[in-house]
C-alpha cells in the first residue's frame, strides 16, 4: 500500500490539463493543513468519523474487477474504475470516453468551472492530492447519444482508500446520459472518496443516475458538483442502498438563465448504516428552476441525514425552487435528521420546502388491513408505495426494478427476521 505522502503521488496520472494540475498542487497543500472534519462543523453535523485519512493507504495496483451485479445494465459505452484507477474504457459512438491523462486538454478546458474546490475539506484535498487516473466522458456540441454510458466504480482491495474521479462534459446543445454504479464487496473494509463533476453547456441536457451499492463495511465520502449553463437541464437520480457510512455532499450551480435542475433520490438504511446527504442548490441566474425530491427510510439502528440549502442570489430573480424530503423511521433505534434551508437574496422568487420524519401511517395500515391484508403485508405495501413515488421519477427507468427490489428486500428481510 502507498501512504498518503508527497512521495506517493502517482506521476503517471499527471495530466496535461492545467487546472487539474493546479488542483493537485492545491490538494497536496490543503491536505497538510486541514484536519479531519468533526461534527462541530455544520456540514458534518450528526456525523462522527472514527478514522484519519492519513492512516490509510492506496492500492499498489488495481485489484481484480467484480463480476456484474444487479444494477449492471446495458450501456452505449462503458468504463470501469477499480481502486481509483481507470481499468477499462469501451468507447461509444458520438461520445468520447477516456482516461483524463489521455484526454485532449481542449475537451476539458470548459470543465474547470465545475471543479470541486480542493480545500472543501480534507477528503477533497486527498482526492486531488493523491488521486490517480480519472475518467472523462465528453459529449460534443450538438451530439445526442442513443443510450447511457455506464461507469462501474469499484473498490476491491480490502483495507485501502480509493479516490476515483469522473469528469462529465456535455457541450452546448448535446444530450448526455450517464449511469454510475458504486460498489465494493461486503467482505473487507474499504474507504472511498469519489469525485464527480459535470459541466452542462448551454441548452444541453444531462441525465445522471448514481447508485451507491457499496458493501457493508465501506465508508464512502462522495463529493459531487454540477454546473448548468443557459437553458441547461439536469435530471439526476440517486439511490443510497449500501455502505456503512454513505455520504454525498453535492452542489448544483445553476449559472445560466433558464436552466433547470431536477433531482430525485431515495435511500434505505439498515443495521447501523449512516446515510448522509448534503445538498447545495445555488441559483445564480434568473428564470432558473430546481426541484429536489428525496425519500428515505431507516430501520434497525441506522441513521440518515439530509441537509439541503437552496441559495438564491440577488441577481437570480424569477426563480422557482422546491425541496422535499420525506423519511420513514421504521424502528425505535433508527433516526432521521431532515434539515431543509432557504437562503434567498432575490425578492421575486417562489421557493418552498417540505420535510417529514415519522413512522408508517396508521390510517394507511388500517385501510389496507380492512381489505384483508395482514399487518406485515399492509406495511410492506406501504413501504413499497412510499418509495414508488421516487422510483417513478428516476431518470433511468432501466434501473427501477433492481432499485425497487433492493429497498423492498431490505424491509421484507427485516420483517422476516422480526426486526420491525
Amino acid at each position: 500500500m502507498r501512504p498518503l505522502t508527497v512521495d506517493s503521488v502517482d506521476a503517471r496520472a499527471d495530466s496535461e490539463i492545467p487546472w487539474l494540475t493546479d488542483l493537485r498542487r492545491q490538494g497536496l497543500e490543503a491536505f497538510q493543513r486541514l484536519p479531519m472534519p468533526t461534527s462541530v462543523e455544520e456540514e458534518w453535523r450528526y456525523i462522527d468519523l472514527d478514522f484519519d485519512l492519513a492512516d490509510l493507504g492506496l492500492a499498489d495496483k488495481p485489484g481484480a474487477p467484480m463480476t456484474p451485479g444487479p444494477y449492471d445494465v446495458d450501456g452505449l459505452g462503458r468504463a470501469t474504475i477499480v481502486d481509483g484507477s481507470v481499468v477499462v474504457v469501451e468507447p461509444a459512438d458520438g461520445i468520447t470516453i477516456s482516461r483524463i491523462a489521455d484526454a485532449d486538454p481542449l475537451l476539458l478546458a470548459g470543465a474547470a468551472d465545475a471543479a470541486i474546490p480542493a480545500d472543501l475539506d480534507r477528503f477533497s484535498a486527498a482526492s486531488y492530492g493523491f488521486g490517480g487516473d480519472g475518467l472523462m466522458v465528453h459529449a460534443a456540441q450538438g451530439s445526442v447519444a442513443s443510450g447511457p454510458v455506464v461507469v462501474d466504480v469499484q473498490a476491491v482491495t480490502p483495507g485501502t482508500l480509493s479516490l476515483p474521479r469522473i469528469v462529465l462534459v456535455a457541450e452546448r446543445q448535446s444530450e448526455l446520459s450517464v449511469i454510475i454504479l458504486y460498489r465494493s464487496p461486503d467482505e473487507g473494509v474499504f474507504h472511498v472518496v469519489p469525485h464527480l463533476q459535470a459541466t452542462v453547456g448551454d441548452n444541453a441536457r444531462l441525465k445522471l443516475t448514481t447508485v451507491q451499492a457499496w458493501g457493508t463495511d465501506t465508508t464512502a465520502i462522495g463529493q459531487q458538483r454540477v454546473v448548468l449553463g443557459r437553458d441547461a437541464h439536469l435530471h439526476h437520480g440517486e439511490a443510497g442502498i449500501g455502505a456503512a457510512l454513505g455520504r454525498l455532499h453535492f452542489f448544483v450551480d445553476i449559472d445560466g438563465p433558464g436552466a433547470h435542475s431536477e433531482i430525485t433520490g431515495l435511500y434505505f438504511g439498515e443495521a447501523d448504516q449512516v446515510l448522509d446527504y448534503r445538498a447545495f442548490i445555488n441559483h445564480r441566474a434568473p428564470h432558473t428552476t430546481s426541484n429536489m425530491f428525496l425519500k428515505g427510510a431507516v430501520e434497525d439502528a441506522s441513521h440518515s441525514v439530509f441537509t439541503g440549502l437552496i441559495r438564491i442570489e440577488a441577481e437570480a430573480q424569477r426563480v422557482n425552487a422546491y425541496q422535499t424530503n420525506r423519511n420513514l423511521v421504521l424502528s425505535d433505534e433508527a433516526g432521521a435528521e431532515s434539515v431543509p434551508n432557504l437562503e434567498i437574496l432575490a425578492n421575486d422568487v417562489k421557493c418552498g420546502h417540505a420535510s417529514t420524519v415519522g413512522p408508517l401511517d396508521a390510517d394507511q395500515r388500517y385501510y389496507l388491513m380492512s381489505r384483508g391484508l395482514d399487518r406485515l403485508h399492509a406495511d410492506r405495501l406501504q413501504v413499497r408505495g412510499f418509495f414508488e413515488e421516487a422510483i417513478a421519477r428516476l431518470p433511468h427507468q432501466q434501473l427501477a426494478d433492481p432499485i425497487r427490489a433492493a429497498v423492498n428486500e431490505k424491509y421484507v428481510r427485516a420483517q422476516d427476521e422480526g426486526r420491525t
Binding site: D361, A362, D363, Q364, Y366, Y367, L368, M369, S370, R371, G372, L373, D374, R375, H377, A378, R380, L381, Q382, R384, G385, F386, F387, E388, E389, A392
Partner: protein, 257 residues
C-alpha cells in the same frame, strides 16, 4: 341459519368518551338495511368499531355470520367476512389497486379466486380503469365511492357496511352508486348502508330503515320511515334521545364521527 350481522349491546368509546351506548342491530343475509341519523350520532364510529380501528374500545357483541368480531384485529375481521366502504377512503400513494389485490392474492390461500373476482368485478362494474391508478389517489368523490364498491365486490364479504357512500355526490353519481349497491345484493350478503339523506333511497329498496341518535338505534321501520324522517327531520328525536355525542375538542381522531 345465522344472520349476516348481529350486533348486541355494542358500546364503543374513544378514551373516556362513550360514543356507542348499547347498540342492537340485525341484518339478515339477502337484506339491505339503511341506517340514518344526524351528525354526531355515532354512525361512523359504528363502522370503525365493527372494523376494529385502533383507538376504539368496545364491549358487547358483534357477530358476522355467527362469528364474534370483537377482540379480533382488523385483518381477521375482514377475513371473517366484514367489508366496509369508507366515507373518506385513505389514499395509498404509489400503490395501485392492482398492487393491493395482487398482494392480497399472494398472501391468501384463495388467491386464484381473488384474481378471478378482480377481472369479473372490473368488467361487471366497469371499473377496470381503477386498477392501474393509485389507491384513492387523484380520484373524484364519485370515483372514490365506486372504487370502494369495486373493492367490496372483489372481497365478496358476508356483510358490507357502506358509510355515507352517497355523500358529496351529484345526482348522476348517486344513481350510479345506488345501482352498484343493488348489484352487490344477493343471498350471501347482508348490506348496511349508512346515510344522511334519503336521496339515494329513491334508487334502492331497503328491507329496513333504522334511526340512530346519541349512539343507539332509537327507531326502526320499513322504507316509509326514511320518508317520514325527510319530512320531520331529526330534531324531535334528538330532543327525546339526546344530542350529538359530546364534543371532545380538537382531537383529529374524532373527525368523521
Amino acid at each position: 341459519m345465522s344472520l349476516a350481522l348481529e350486533v348486541r349491546n355494542l358500546r364503543a368509546s374513544i378514551g373516556s368518551i362513550e360514543i356507542l351506548r348499547g347498540l342492537d342491530l340485525e341484518v339478515g343475509f339477502g337484506e339491505l338495511h339503511v341506517l340514518m341519523g344526524p351528525n354526531g350520532s355515532g354512525k361512523s364510529t359504528l363502522c370503525h368499531a365493527l372494523m376494529g380501528k385502533p383507538g376504539y374500545s368496545t364491549t358487547g357483541s358483534a357477530l358476522v355470520a355467527g362469528r364474534e368480531l370483537l377482540g379480533e384485529d382488523v385483518e381477521t375481521r375482514a377475513r371473517m367476512g366484514l367489508s366496509e366502504a369508507f366515507q373518506y377512503p385513505t389514499e395509498i400513494p404509489g400503490i395501485t389497486l392492482r398492487d393491493l389485490f395482487e398482494e392480497l392474492a399472494d398472501q391468501r390461500d384463495d388467491g386464484d379466486a381473488i384474481r378471478a373476482r378482480v377481472s369479473e368485478a372490473a368488467d361487471r362494474l366497469d371499473a377496470t380503469r381503477f386498477l392501474d391508478r393509485p389507491v384513492n389517489g387523484g380520484l373524484s368523490g364519485g370515483e372514490k365511492k365506486r372504487s370502494e364498491i369495486f373493492q367490496l365486490a372483489v372481497l365478496a364479504p358476508s356483510v358490507a357496511v357502506l358509510d355515507e357512500i352517497d355523500s358529496g355526490l351529484d345526482v348522476d353519481a348517486v344513481r350510479e352508486v345506488a345501482e352498484a349497491v343493488e348489484r352487490m345484493r344477493g343471498p350471501d350478503i347482508g348490506v348496511l348502508l349508512i346515510t344522511h339523506y334519503n336521496r339515494i333511497l329513491q334508487y334502492l329498496k331497503p328491507d329496513r330503515v333504522h334511526v340512530m341518535v346519541a349512539g343507539a338505534i332509537v327507531q326502526s321501520g320499513g322504507p316509509e320511515l326514511a320518508e317520514e324522517l325527510e319530512e320531520r327531520g331529526y330534531t324531535d328525536l334528538v330532543a327525546e334521545f339526546g344530542g350529538p355525542t359530546p364534543d371532545a375538542g380538537e382531537d383529529d381522531f374524532l373527525a368523521g364521527l
